[in-house]
């Protein structure tokens, strides 16, 4: 087994305002006492280190919520403790997710001094009307300014765009994406807007509102355009929604997708840890208030041992998101042979040596491919079975 690395995910659960499409664990609080939150994170870092201090850190990721609401000092104290608890790989990646308002951009150099070496900026759109529709607090101008500041401070800057938005046609998106590519980013995350139940958009959609969302066919066309343009610009997809120049992939996310170990710290954070040969799924208390008090009692996290078949499922679920796919064992090849053959036959997956990956046609159909892969009933037997 190659070393898949070890990462640390730190979740900051607060935002300035809740975006109507967002179902991440994010909360809007009037006042946050950064000192007591810092103490809680430090305590959790120590707890996790007790079991993992022998591991070498490949990546630290501050995600959210909006981690760019953290004081520079908070980030500094956390990273200081991280450094004390673990050894780092030479080229350790330390990413922070930032929202692109001017206030937040003003903290970038402090983050850099604290040790952050990569930021991921949530631009989301380059158009003011659409930014407003998405409930964002920044304008397109502010976003681009923040991008410039970020680039002057950090070597590695990525940004996020949400596409397949209301009333967005192919021309509009290609023009917007072309502008984004003109900045010659090293890394880009391009997410199709997902309407999540339980969000403001979800409710509006369920009531029949939120008109003008692309249908499946337009969604697929937008996807195709995105693949083509990013490839031509030298930023092909390396994962479903992530694009990078060679060797500029997010090392942190690669840990998730390749099935490596990561500890999750902060409200609602997930982790996967292999301890004495057993792989565990960990999940922290979701509500910020409950998490804070649970940390006090050293009980912020619950653990579930993953079974062989769950591990296998996760390897496929996460690994097939990568363009390069996953390595597949002879045993797995055997178990899934009927379904794999079927999916190969209809051109959605391919097997190259012992790697299984989606074809370009299969990539936008990952969920359907997975559900076929794990279907109990191989298609070849279906007829004889139902008529017996």
């Amino acid at each position: 087994m190659p070393d898949l690395g070890f990462g640390l995910y730190i979740h900051w659960p607060f935002c300035q305002a809740k975006c109507p499409y967002c179902d991440f664990n994010s909360h809007v609080w009037a006042k946050i006492d950064q000192d007591s939150w810092t103490s809680a994170y430090l305590k959790e870092l120590d707890r996790v280190a007790e079991e993992t201090s022998d591991r070498v850190l490949r990546s630290v990721f501050f995600g959210g919520g909006t981690p760019s609401l953290m004081d520079g000092r908070t980030v500094d104290r956390i990273l200081d403790r991280v450094q004390r608890n673990w050894r780092f790989e030479n080229d350790v990646e330390i990413t922070l997710e930032a929202n692109p308002t001017s206030v937040e951009a003003s903290r970038f150099s402090a983050y850099r001094s604290a040790g952050v070496n990569r930021v991921s900026l949530g631009l989301q759109a380059l158009d003011d009307t659409d930014l407003r529709r998405l409930g964002r607090l920044h304008t397109a101008r502010e976003g681009l300014d923040a991008l410039n500041i970020a680039r002057s401070v950090f070597d590695r800057v990525s940004f996020d765009l949400i596409y397949a938005r209301q009333d967005q046609d192919i021309e509009m998106w290609s023009a917007e994406l072309a502008r984004a590519l003109d900045f010659q980013p090293m890394h880009l995350s391009l997410y199709q807007l997902t309407i999540e139940p339980g969000t403001a958009f979800g409710d509006r959609f369920a009531r029949g509102g939120l008109r003008g969302l692309p249908d499946e066919d337009l969604g697929a066309d937008l996807w195709d355009v995105t693949q083509g343009m990013t490839e031509r610009a030298g930023l092909p997809a390396y994962e479903v929604s992530n694009h990078a120049r060679p060797r500029q992939e997010s090392r942190h996310n690669l840990i998730y997708w390749m099935g490596g170990d990561y500890a999750g710290i902060g409200p609602g954070a997930h982790g996967r840890l292999t301890l004495d040969g057993q792989r565990w799924s960990t999940e922290a208390q979701k509500s910020p208030q409950a998490w804070l008090s649970a940390v006090d009692q050293a009980s912020a996290e619950t653990r579930v041992a993953l079974s062989e078949s769950e591990m296998c499922q996760e390897r496929f679920l996460m690994g097939l998101r990568l363009v390069e796919g996953i390595e597949i064992t002879p045993r797995e090849t055997d178990i899934f042979s009927n379904n794999i053959n079927y999916l190969k036959e209809i051109g959605l997956i391919e097997k190259v040596n012992d790697r299984l990956r989606l074809t370009p046609a299969g990539r936008p159909l990952l969920n359907a491919v997975l559900s076929r892969l794990f279907a109990d009933q191989p298609p070849d037997n279906s007829l004889s079975k139902s008529s017996s």
């Binding site: 995910y9 979740h11 991440f24 990721f61 995600g63 997410y191 199709q192 807007l193 997902t194 499946e216 066919d217 969604g219 697929a220 996807w223 479903v240 929604s241 996310n253 840990i255 998730y256 997708w257 990561y262 999750g264 954070a269 997930h270 982790g271 996967r272 799924s281 999940e283 769950e310 499922q313 996760e314 679920l317 996460m318 998101r321 999916l343 209809i346 959605l348 990539r363 936008p364 159909l365 990952l366 969920n367 359907a368 491919v369 997975l370 559900s371 076929r372 794990f374 279907a375 009933q377 298609p379 279906s382 007829l383 139902s386 008529s387």
Partner: protein
């Protein structure tokens, strides 16, 4: 035992929702049969499905006692009947057990199709009728107009009609007095040998089969040994009683009375409605005329979504059939759906009721296949087949001709919608037989093929007339026509559960409609799917369901693989609600929805 002259027996009949059960409530209350604290609306509609849908499905008998203005004490037996056409059989046999009927007419609506049908049945049964104009508490009530309609459309004298509000109780005394004054007391001879009519029977978990009887002659007592004349079986009566409406035992039942008996009978099937019950030792001279048995007219397949539940389904159907003689079933195997049952129903509402009960009371999810009627298939070799299932249609080369059941449909409709109704009937291959007017309402009579009506005719009728039309029908007979079996092929494979008999001239239209509907109902798959309609191998309509193009979760939640695993499990659960045909998953609701026509 009550003296004959102090008994009145009557049924309450009306078009659906005109207030029969509510009127029964008031009669029960006005006679203090049930204490006020135990009263609830439509007390007699006791079945869950009746309460939920707000309709009566099963006729109910109640004995009430009334002190009339003449100072005499009377025993009244009332039978509340269902209004829906599917259960018309309940009305006709109830009428056979009584001497008169209250013909309830909603005075805000007027005479409707079932009002008419009820009148014809009453005339058949030689009944006295008392018209009762209900819902006079409502502002839209128009008694004069309704009286005029009753006289014009039905042709009976409306001068004795009683205006009431079954809601407020206004006029209820008048109804009771009119019953005493205008309905004939029953006839009968208490010294003659026992002659009782078996009106109805149903299964009770504690008492076994309960038999509803109307005594014509003689006296029935507990302990008597009685013979059911049609099947010759002899039983010892272990309990007799009356409904108030809860069961109360009595010592004996004499001529003119309606009550029940139990006799440790295990199965409803052992009791035939319309049978004559007499004493074993001292039998009566001969049986009563009996009833025409109710015949299922609509057939469909019921299959469990989860084929592992077949035995549970068998159990559920067995139990339901115990109590419902008009529901027939036999096992059926389908190449695609596996094991299930071919079931016969009185109509579509009956089908829905049974299906609902299986799904809810027995928790079995069902696939319902296309409803069909019984075709008579005449083979070239001179034999005749009763075809209940289009999938069983023999090869055309052996078929000489096919006959289909026809109905006489009576539709009452405000004249502004008449054009739409005529068009609908015409589209459904109808032949107009009559068209008359009563004020601003038209009454049309059409000869229609039952198969064009069975499925969604009533829905369409309601929708083209904004709910203002009413409809009633009777089977008339069979007639030859150019009927063919249309198959539906999904991904080149025939789906037998979607096969149907259609008229050749309507086949293209129906085929196209089916293919279009299925295209919307079947989710996209990873490959494109041709959907075709064909007659004897010749494709007459075709649609193509495009292949799935996008199905991927865009975001990743900070390494939350658990969430993705759950999503996969959810997808799997969703698949369970579908059935696989070759490589294609078809959702269970598709089988019925595909048949709904928009015109």
């Amino acid at each position: 035992m009550t003296d004959l002259t102090h008994i009145r027996n009557f049924s309450i009949v009306a078009h659906i929702d005109h207030g029969k059960s509510t009127l029964a409530d008031r009669l029960i209350q006005a006679t203090n049969t049930v204490p006020d604290r135990d009263m609830k609306e439509q007390l007699l509609d006791a079945m869950d499905i009746e309460r939920e849908r707000g309709i009566t499905i099963k006729a109910n008998t109640v004995r009430i006692e009334y002190d009339a203005l003449d100072g005499q004490h009377y025993v009244l037996n009332l039978i509340d009947t269902p209004g829906h056409v599917d259960f018309a059989y309940e009305v006709s046999r109830s009428m056979r057990a009584v001497e008169g009927s209250l013909l309830v007419v909603d005075s805000t609506q007027g005479v409707e199709a079932q009002t008419l049908a009820n009148v014809y049945q009453a005339i058949d049964a030689d009944h006295e009728l008392i018209p009762v104009f209900n819902k006079i508490d409502l502002p839209a009530s128009d008694i004069d107009r309704v009286a005029e309609q009753v006289e014009d459309v039905i042709g009976i004298d409306a001068s004795g009609a009683i205006p009431v509000s079954a809601k407020t109780g206004e006029g209820i005394r008048d109804v009771l007095e009119s019953i005493i004054a205008n309905l004939p007391p029953p006839e009968g001879n208490r010294d003659a040998p026992l002659k009782a009519m078996l009106v109805d029977s149903w299964y009770d978990a504690y008492l076994g089969v309960i038999v509803l009887v109307r005594i014509k002659d003689g006296v029935l007592k507990k302990g008597d040994r009685v013979r059911f004349m049609q099947n010759g079986t002899v039983h010892q009566v272990d309990r007799i009683g009356v409904f108030k409406p809860s069961m109360q035992t009595v010592d004996d039942l004499g001529p003119g009375e309606i009550g029940f008996l139990t006799a440790s009978i295990k199965q409803v099937r052992d009791t035939r409605v319309g049978d004559t019950i007499t004493h074993e030792k001292k039998p009566c001279d001969g049986p009563l005329p009996g009833f025409k048995p109710s015949q299922p007219v609509v057939f469909c397949g019921l299959f469990p979504v989860d084929s592992a539940e077949f035995e549970d389904l068998r159990d559920a159907i067995d139990k339901l059939a115990l109590n419902d003689a008009s529901f027939s079933y036999e096992m059926e195997t389908s190449a695609a759906l596996g094991f299930g049952f071919r079931c016969g129903f009185l109509g579509l509402l009956h089908l829905e009721v049974i299906r609902d009960r299986i799904e809810r009371e027995y928790d079995i999810e069902l696939i319902t296949t296309a409803p069909s009627v019984i075709y008579h298939v005449f083979m070239k070799d001179g034999t005749k087949i009763d075809l209940h299932n289009p999938a069983d249609m023999p090869d055309l080369t052996h078929v000489d001709h096919v006959e289909e059941p026809r109905i006489k449909a009576t539709i009452l409709v405000p004249d502004e919608f008449l054009g739409d109704v005529l068009k609908l009937c015409q589209d459904r291959r109808g032949i107009q037989e009559d068209l008359t007017y009563a004020g601003s309402r038209a009454m049309v009579v059409y000869d229609l093929p039952l198969n064009e009506v069975v499925f969604d005719f009533y829905d369409r009728l309601k929708s083209v007339t904004k709910g203002y039309a009413s409809f009633d029908y009777q089977l008339t007979g069979y007639r030859q026509d150019n009927l063919v079996k249309m198959q539906i092929l999904v991904n080149e494979e025939p789906v037998d559960a979607l096969s149907m008999m259609v008229h050749r001239d309507r086949a293209e239209m129906r085929g196209r409609a089916m293919c279009e509907k299925l295209k919307d109902l079947i989710p996209r798959h990873m490959f494109k799917i041709p959907i075709q309609a064909a007659i004897g191998g010749k494709v007459i309509a075709r649609e193509t369901l495009a292949a799935l193009r996008k199905d991927v979760t865009a975001k990743c939640y900070g390494g939350d693989a658990t969430r993705k695993r759950k999503l996969l499990d959810k997808q799997k659960a969703g698949k369970k609600k579908m059935r696989q045909f070759g490589k294609v998953d078809i959702p269970q609701e598709a089988f019925i929805s595909a048949l709904k026509m928009d015109s």
